[in-house]
Amino acid sequence: MNILILGAGEIGFYMAEELAERNHNICVIEADEAVAAAVSDKLDVRVVIGNGAAVSVLEEAGVSECDVFYGLSSSDNTNVVAASIARPLGAKKTIARVHADVQQDQWLFDFRTHFGLDYLFSSERIAAVELAKHIRNPDCLVVEEIARGRIELQQTKIFPRSQACGKALRELGLPARVRVGSVQRGREVFIPDGNEVLVEGDVVTLFGATNLLAEAAPLFRQEGGSAEETRVVIFGGGQYGLALAQMLEGGRFRTRIFEADAKRCAQLSKLLQRTTLIHADGTSLAQLREEQVGEADFFVAATQFDEDNVMTCLQARDLGVRHCVTLIHRADYADAVTRAGERLGILGAVSPRVATSRELMRFTAGDRADTLVTLNGGLDVIEFTIGEGSPLAGRTVLEIQWPKGSLLVSMTRGSSASVPAAGDTLKAGDVLVAMIAPSARKAFHQLLR
């Protein structure tokens, strides 16, 4: 695949490295000569020096035969303009990175259509989503977002005292349009029917809109208890801390942010309504004590400095915080921290660039059906689009003979997404997500053809 990457900063370089390993043809556009030289030395990619928003530079980089264009520089203006003009110049898919506040503005204005982009994302936001996954669902093993974040996939374990234990699926009283996709019992993974009774130790995969899954969450909670407000402490009110706090403001969380800079505090106070701001240095043990950090359920370290993040997590853990999550910017550290996590008492380490590249990788994965995730037991979650004249178009979900071992879990039409019900009619242009067992893979791909 021919891939153009604009900007060889933290994220651009990492993407180029990852994609080069997968044998793609990559051209990197970088304005800074020194950075460009470094890329040229370290990676087997072509490097073009110049302003990525200039047509001549894009032409030189080979935009006319480009399959995917990534605008990943630190300037969102350059990214958006470059991606926007790359499309008419011949790029088949265009993706632009913006700052978190621009992505927040998407509620007000449709930047994607306006600029002709396929995907607009903020790496701060993606990292914040990763952090939030740990916080929103502490008892969940895996959380993935599909259908542009509108549908969530959660894997959760059945504990002996949780309400769902010992009940058949149809007795659970799950909200409408929430589906149990699969059950893992011991080594065996299967797609259950309504009569399946859940037993202790099962791992179930749930699909549904985020808010609906939150409704269902008490059924699977470890203590079987009611939903109390979760106490969260965020260390560092930078872009990542802010994005996370904004995400948590919608839910049942009591959030505190430690920010040492007074000016930044003033800015945050304008952007956050329901979050408590503490103007204090989170690395100071006295300050953490003063704010009773030990009583919190979660401590999230989200500053620019990996060392501070890890060390404050250890301190918070010492004070009695139940779970710690940290941001690690250097990918090598992230692996080490994750591996040592259990010993250190750190629930998870999130690396913004790893999270971002994982998110972006799907654009280079393939054409008809993109594999989003592969779950335990080889279950694939795949995304596909119903083309014009497809035999599936115009039929209801119930009418179609889905292969045994496959399940439709999400349907996106325009800007809305839901878990499809039996009576829904499929149309050309719908983007569907299905979960398929390895045994059903062949039959399923035949159905698509």
Binding site: C265, A266, L268, S269, K270, T276, L277, I278, H279, A280, Q287, E290, E291
Partner: protein
Amino acid sequence: MNYRLLCKVLGLLVLLMAVSLLICEVYGFFLDHPGQSGAHDFALARAFAVALALGGVLVWLGRSTGREILRKEAIAIVGLGWLLCTAVGALPYIFCMPSLNPAAAFFESASGFTTTGSTAIADLNVYPRSILLWRATTQWLGGMGILVLFVALLSSLGVGSKALFRHESTAQIGYGFHSRIRQTALGLWQLYTALTVVCVAGLAAMGMSFYDALLHSFAAISTGGFSPRNESLMFYSNAGFDAWLCIFMFLGGANFLLMVRVLRRDMAGLRREEEFRTYFGILLAATLVVGADLIISQGAPVFQSLQWSAFQVISIMTTTGFVSADFDLWPHLSQAVLVLLMFIGGCTGSTSGGIKVGRTLTFFKTAGQQLINAFRPSQVIPVRINGNILEETQKTSALFFMALTGAVVAAGTLLISLLEPQVSLVGSFTSVTATLFNIGPGLAEVGATKTFAFFSPPSHLILAFLMLLGRLEFFALLVLFLPSLWRRY
């Protein structure tokens, strides 16, 4: 200080007064009949002649100067302009009733322009109707602001018009729709005039004579409170009049720029508007408390109590000062509630006086923040009004204003007690609050059915000064005493 410019602008302001006097004279000529008590004596015409001459001289003195007003001149124009207008406005009373002390005439005029409504005239019936018309007109002019009118009418004042507006009106400029201050001023006066017309029409339709309706409307929408009747609204004891006037007093005490927004169907703005909600809430709560107090301790009928309590609460909180029941005879709790309302006053950007609901809100929110910070010093607590975070300077100025108010009330009470040994403490205290907050009636010696006529000339001057201080919110008047304002360099 550019003295020529000062003369010119003040001259124009006096000419504006002359025009108003002339209009009142024309209407007044047809109102007064010979033989009736208080025959027409051309007092307004004589005052018009003086104002015309004075204005002419001032404009001539400042003939060869540009029109650019700087901050320094602007604040001096506001302070001096108000003093000058008050003096010119006092002329008709002196011409009409030579026996009236000039200090009392100045008091009466200040009470008009500042929309206070306290009166130094013991018996209104001896005055011709034209004078009473002028008395109400001064309130109407002062309500929205003489200088706001001035800014609205004169096109080429430049940036200085912003400063003139800011020192006279409590309306926040940024709140308006127009980027040009002249358009904002014009919009405010249009709305103000339109409301007055509706008020007059309503009262006339309910059977009040056009003259009485006009005067009461002038006094209601400006939250002034001058009535052409000695007994104020008790003269009619008509629930319809009371209710209709309540509506317009209420509107007069609300933010006019907010009303402009609502008229433009900006309902989202109204929903966010915290000050208006608080204003309405306080009125409602005070009405219920006073009403309940009247029912319980005086055994008054329920409907009557609520009617009285609503009218008095609205009249006092909006700093109008109309009276439909003698609250001097009410129980102490009700009186205490009314005194509290005197302090709070209406909304910012209204025609009312007092500390203003917005400042009171700021005070309490800041106090809450300070209390929390006492045990949790590192928490950043933004103080929000209408969802916007207040800057430190806004908080400081609100708190400073409240402190200054307290100091002035204390000093004023001291002075009045010194000058008027026969007046009770309640009387001297409420005479100060009633004038400083531009309300009108106080309690005891200056109660609902009494007047300020018995005060000595020095006290009249002090109280008139307090009214001007309250109307201009201290600064524009106090800076006049600083020598550095008057230096050329």
